[in-house]
Amino acid sequence: MLQVRGLSAGYQGNDVVHDVSFHVDPGEAVMIIGSNGAGKSTLFKTICGLLPPSTGQIILNGEDLAGMPAQHLVPLGMSFVSPERHLFPRMTVQENLSLGAYPRRPDPETLSVVMDVFPRLAERRRQHAGTMSGGEQQMLAVGRALMAKPRLLLLDEPSTGLAPKLAHEAYEALRILRKQGLTVLIAEQQVPLAMAFSDRGYVLENGSIQMEGTSSDLARNPEVRRAYLGVV
């Protein structure tokens, strides 16, 4: 579904991500793990078109999207959830969700799926996004992305700012969505959560892929265990 080949990107000519290649197959959940500052967010922003790549290809369903701006990628079936959320603070939950379906009218079926997965959003329909708690805002950010009916969802640090219990709930919601056929690419610092959720993973350090494998293989790898799972 998504193939990234030889991708380099960064800010003002200084590449943070170097020659990264990986792929995500339809129906898969793939994680990218790495320490803070490894380049995960830069990589995600580049894939979703918020940051232009310096070189490389980003191929979604056979089409090279490298250099296309974010607003043109959403109609092609790829949505992005940022750790900064970027909600519309002075609009209600309902309005935020409706805009998620832009330029179409919100599909009632998708809306009810979102409300089922995140019942809190249904309760807070008329509340302004800016007045909600961090956890609720995170749910809304995911919900808004789902309203576009993406086939591939890019999640950058979905557990940011969430209490452990809420982070687990968020991942439970993501499991439900996966069962409905959603393909997910996820970056996460809380590695155990991502590992339990994903099929395969890549380890990104200093802007390059250092390791790859199935999540269960990575979970058994001594280096990964020491660096990311806190096992001595």
């Binding site: 974010a70 607003q71 043109h72 959403v74 909600l87 002075r90 992305a145 576009a148």
Partner: protein
């Protein structure tokens, strides 16, 4: 006194309409359009010439509004191109400089070619009485048009998908791109809309006082003051600030003298910035 307040409300509605376009362009694109008043004046001249050429009043007004919208679009397609490449403060500064250049150019051209022209639309015959106050028909009609326009603008922004998309760019541009909204297309739409509003200002204003070719900069300055007091990016703020400042202006003009009215307006703007740096309904960044 009641008459003075009424005059103030009439003026305030004008102020609100004046600021609505400017505040949206700034809130949406970080573009400070100082050629706004000149768009207004050129539209007025278009209406004047169309009427002189024998077009019926409504047709002439339609042509003027079209000219205003077209000038907004031309700004977007030409002079603002280099501005869009910049971000943040430098974007505001470059837009300010370039549109000021456009303003000088249009002003110079108008003063050279049509120095004595001015638009004055005569509406109705006698004054209209509203709760015991006799108001000139022109003021009443201008106010009704302004109220209808601003209500329509607010409804568009709040209830339509396109209007919400415009607001989403004001609230979080990156978020808007993430849901598939193209900020540059929204900005183009708003520039066309604000050109239209600038032209409408010329038409409604000319029902109250003549709009002559020298009026450009005073229109821009008034719009700027109202925009700052109302809060950048807020149409409701612009309307609220417009009415408050309009009443202050009228009372000052009646009690002290017209020479002090503009000083009072600037004073009100300065006090607002001291107390609420983001304006009445502006949002703190």
């Amino acid at each position: 006194m009641t008459a003075t307040v009424f005059d103030g409300v009439v003026l305030g509605l004008q102020f609100g309409l004046l600021a609505a376009g400017l505040t949206l362009v700034y809130g949406l694109g970080g573009v400070l359009m100082l050629s706004y008043g000149q768009i207004s004046v050129v539209s007025a001249i278009v209406v004047l010439f169309a009427m002189d050429a024998g077009l019926p009043t409504l047709g002439a007004v339609g042509l003027g509004l079209l000219a205003g919208a077209l000038m907004g679009l031309i700004h977007d397609l030409t002079i603002l191109r280099p501005v869009y490449r910049l971000q943040g403060e430098s974007r505001v500064l470059l837009s300010l400089l370039l549109t000021l250049g456009v303003a000088f150019m249009i002003d110079g051209l108008l003063n050279w070619r049509y120095p004595l022209q001015g638009l004055r639309m005569r509406v109705g015959s006698g004054p209209i009485e509203i709760i015991g106050v006799r108001m000139p028909a022109g003021s009443v009609v201008a106010s009704v048009i302004t109220i209808v326009t601003l209500t329509g603008l607010l409804l568009f922004l709040r209830t339509t998908t396109l209007g919400r998309a415009v607001r989403s760019v004001i609230q979080d541009e990156e978020g808007a791109r993430m849901v598939g909204i193209d900020p540059s297309r929204m900005l183009r739409l708003i520039l066309i809309l604000s050109g239209f509003l600038a032209a409408l200002v010329a038409v409604t204003r000319s029902m109250v006082i003549p709009v002559d070719v020298q009026a450009g900069f005073s229109i821009t300055v008034l719009a700027l003051i109202v925009t700052v007091v109302g809060g950048l990016g807020s149409v409701v703020g612009a309307l609220l600030a417009g009415i408050i400042l309009g009443i202050a202006y009228s009372i000052a003009a009646a009690q002290i003298g017209t020479f002090m009215s503009l000083v009072i307006l600037l004073l009100a703007a300065a006090v607002t910035i001291l107390i609420r740096p983001s304006g009445l309904l502006g949002v703190k960044e």
